[in-house]
Symmetry: C2
Subunit: 347 residues, 2 copies
DNA sequence: GGACGTATTTGGATCGATCCAAAACGCTCA
DNA sequence: TGAGCGTTTTGGATCGATCCAAATACGTCC
């Protein structure tokens, strides 16, 4: 038994169990080659001596740490809480663990975090990239041989490697079709400035859906965060215009909930005087007053799919890039289920 | 230059820069002992060869990974987003990185995650413990020699080692004093079942504050999550009683926001018919309708203080346990700023 | 030029785990 | 009992970085 403060090693376990270091190593790897009685002796030594595996040492020889890095841009967005839960559930079944890091939408901070994860020898990376992420990041990851699955956002005009996302376009079509059916002709999209693929996907999907419906798209990009407060502030501005839109589709639920607050502040009836649709269908959407209609992106399923894809890449390296675009659905609630009063519609 | 797929090592850098492996190592450690021109040659080799440091190898000899584990019970709670931002800001200045893991309030999952972090040789742990965490966890951490700072919650009846938290008691006193000053006599606390120190602290603080005010405490514990939905559901139940409380203090802002929703659903005027006070003072508190009064716990400052304490422990090992209990403040908004109508008060 | 002191660099050992070919062991059959 | 075969265990080399005492280099002074 080494003195306090000195870590227990395989050598100590081997001495205690009366076997070689190699046998101990095989036991810890759950190798089927070891006899049951031997395995039991070693595991008893592990418990008795309080051994803690040294993954750093193991990385010098073995290929795997069984650790996945998860890098997202905003952990305060409930979408990521649900997505990470899906990731972790899937990884747990494979005896992998995820380490989460948050970039605050800064490409520099993102690079630093990814470097640090790589230094720890993560096996793969699940990345929801910061806005303005340069494509050189993907070159670097490729050079490293680090499998990367982009999730929900991708670097560049289209995903280059593995990607898991939601079918925003289909969601937009459903939302616009629904709003048009209710009489809305002036529908606005509130989104970011276009520095992320999430912005651009929403814009493209919205544009296509509006053109399909024979309507003129009104796309409201804006700088800054995609938060509740931003949704509120920007909606206050929009509604102060001479001919404001009669319906809003917001970048995410947080912004949509902010928009509902703004409408209420203006003495308008959210959902009646102006329809609001969010994206993500967070738990909160169902609870708000009025309940928020939202394009459901199923973050838990997104997380699970991304983790499955990572594990598959690790099992079968060198495969073709996989693009998984999961179905969305439109969850209609009070914020967008009233027919528009004709008197509110411009000629 | 080693072939693709084979990592660049110190040996490769040394050959490229025309120095020894030891010199390379000293340069990477930013040792002042190395000549400037030598350092430049080595750093040029690093860039040219695309070297990635191997922290696993380094952990075999050096004492530090410059990595802090952050283990929390619910990443979807905005409190933790803000706290982690505070942690990361402080750690970045010291060239440390945090890896975040979420336990879902499960002690078993928590143990598994902490084991995995330890295997990666994190330098210290910031822990907001899952409810029902056994004290044996602290024994284990001590045996490992892993510095641990409990944050906001602690294991056992009182913190045993380092702790950073908020002065909930002072916050409770302010909230109760304020409500009593407005005429409230029946004030209820909505909190968890008492399995976490956060629950118990709130109960004790509330009890003491109510006794100080000469009022009878009404403590509503409940099973399950401390979420918006839970706040809504439990408030609906409470308000269906014959003599419901005229004021609610909720475990956190999420629950308080749920309570506001419930009151509105019941046709009551939130803040007038029943006052509501949350805990945390999240961004959302200011935006809701009515704006939520909240005991501000300053999560960003909590995170910074915890990270500072961790760094101090690492710089000066063996010091006395530090207990930092940061001031709270009461942020009064519309949800609790009306004097109570006398007709609503029981005799 | 040699001695001395300081600055800089070096090289072999070490760290804890894995790898893999070889050794050891146990069982069965002739 | 010995040979053959399958099962189990072993031990030395290796991995990439750090450590630290020793070696080397450099500048200054006499």
């Amino acid at each position: 038994m080494p003195p306090s403060g000195k870590p227990v090693t395989l050598k100590d376990l081997a001495a205690h169990a009366g076997v070689s270091r190699s046998t101990v190593s095989l036991v810890l790897q759950e190798s089927p080659l070891v006899a049951k009685s031997t395995r039991e002796r070693v595991m008893a030594a592990v418990r008795t001596l309080g051994y803690v595996y040294n993954r750093g040492a193991a990385t010098l020889r073995s290929a795997r740490t069984h650790t996945i890095g998860v890098v997202v841009h905003d952990i305060a967005n409930p979408f990521f809480g649900a997505m990470v839960a899906g990731i972790d559930e899937t990884l747990q079944n494979a005896d992998y663990v995820s380490f989460l890091a948050s970039t605050g939408d800064s490409p520099e901070r993102q690079q630093r975090l990814i470097n640090r994860l790589r230094e720890q020898r993560i096996d793969a990376l699940l990345l929801c990239p910061a806005e303005n992420t340069p494509e050189t990041l993907l070159d670097t990851l490729e050079r490293w041989g680090l499998p990367c699955i982009e999730v929900m956002r991708h670097v560049g005009a289209s995903p280059r490697g593995h990607y898991v996302g939601a079918d925003i376009r289909a969601g937009m079509i459903r939302a616009v079709t629904h709003l048009a059916g209710q009489g809305h002709r002036h529908i606005a999209l509130l989104t970011g400035p276009g520095h992320s693929s999430a912005d651009r996907d929403r814009m493209a999907g919205f544009q296509a859906a509006m053109e399909d419906a024979g309507l003129v798209p009104d796309i409201r990009t804006g700088r800054g965060e995609l938060t509740r407060r931003a949704g509120l502030e920007r909606t206050l501005e929009i509604m102060s215009e001479a001919t404001p839109p009669t319906a809003l589709i917001c970048h995410n639920d947080l912004m949509a909930l902010g928009a509902l607050l703004a409408l209420a502040r203006l003495g308008l009836t959210p959902g009646v005087d102006c329809a609001v649709i969010g994206i993500d269908d967070s738990d909160e959407a169902a609870l708000s007053e009025p309940a928020l209609s939202s394009i459901a992106t199923h973050p838990h399923a997104i997380g699970s799919a991304a983790a499955e894809l990572a594990l598959a890449c690790l099992d079968h390296p060198g495969g073709e890039p996989q693009r998984l675009v999961l179905d969305t659905s439109l969850h209609l609630r009070a914020s967008a289920d009233h027919c528009l009063h004709r008197s509110r519609e411009p000629s």
